[in-house]
Amino acid sequence: MTETMTRRPFYLRPPINILFDINRLEKLTPWNVNIAFLLRQFLSEMEHNGKVDFRASGVALDSSALIYLMKSKLLLTLQEPPAPPKMPTDFVPPPLFLPLRHELTSTTIQHLLAVLDEVLKGEKLAAIDRVVAQPVLPQASDLMPQFDKFMAELESQMDKLYAHLLDLVKGAGIIQFTNLIKGLPRIEAVRAFILLLFLAQDGLILLWQDEETEEIYITVGNLKIGKQPNAKLESES
């Protein structure tokens, strides 16, 4: 076997043989063929044998050109812009201009005043929101034990608040948020609010907000007052 191999011309041995098998060449992915390397190898082998084979050189050159062409073709297909989608043409008439009419509207300064009341309440809530917005959870970069400690602390606080809520409603009932935080310092009220959000997320309580009064109602226990699949705190629309 080895003898047969050695008797065959050098250019029929791998890897240079690729250049001399046209059928195989056409099935190759041209990017996997390093033409420069193969040709250098071919030349050094020829030099080593001390005999210039013009026929073999011609085939090698032809094959290299073919691979080059295949590469170019692929590149060109890739770079070709996608054919523009055929826009269906249809006559589009010029814009219709709406006839102008004088329009008196019914809104008065009294309406403006009526809503201002609500908005100023929202302004106070926004102040609370900003306190809420400050990072409550530790940063991701913090060590896990610290986070665990925080979660444990949070859970114990949640348990305490939930027990307090159950106590207030004696099993099941609705409490207003303002009643819950009556007399508490602001930071405590904010804390209670956050804990309520966690309790609602765990499905232990339901929260909803009256759009007009902006009062938040907390439902504790199974009241069976209409199904409410998700506990949610409605924001003002």
């Binding site: 826009m87 269906p88 043409t89 249809d90 006559f91 589009v92 008439p93 010029p94 814009p95 219709l96 201009f97 709406l98 006839p99 102008l100 009419r101 004088h102 329009e103 008196l104």
Partner: protein, 183 residues
Amino acid sequence: MSDAEEKKLHNLSLLEAALYVAGRPLDINELRSVLTTRSKKKAEQLMEVLTEEYVARNTAMEILRLKDERYVMQVKSEFTPLIKRLVNRPLLSAGPLKTLSYIAYRQPITSKRVIEVRGQHAYGHVKLLKDMGLVATERNGRSIVLKTTDYFADYFGLTMDMTTMKRDLKRIFGEALKDEPQP
């Protein structure tokens, strides 16, 4: 001036004021109630007189009689481009208006086709036109199509009958095209 004449002038002014403040078409019953009369006929006759007076006065405003015994006051279309910018309510810009024209012209038409012809931004136009009540979706056999609404017909003083409306629109577009530089 006789009492009857004075009364008539007062009633004409009442109808004029009503159309002015409403800023929308008023039907004969609304107009009747402004006059505190039970007679439709009386209201109609007075509206005829007022409409004619507006024609004779030949000013910037006109009163149109719409289908179903409704009347509206508006600025004559020739003045629209010159004073549009003084209106303090967001008007439809040219893009949505063009989409509206196309829907009106080709209705009933699928929204798919509207997007094909007017491009992706027409999604927003159709939504806006629906929000404004100028266009509505309707089921037509198995497909859902867009149509202009009665409000649209009102707004442009067009009849609500689809065939007549389309004929009128073609005329309007034809006129508009005459003024347009041809592509």
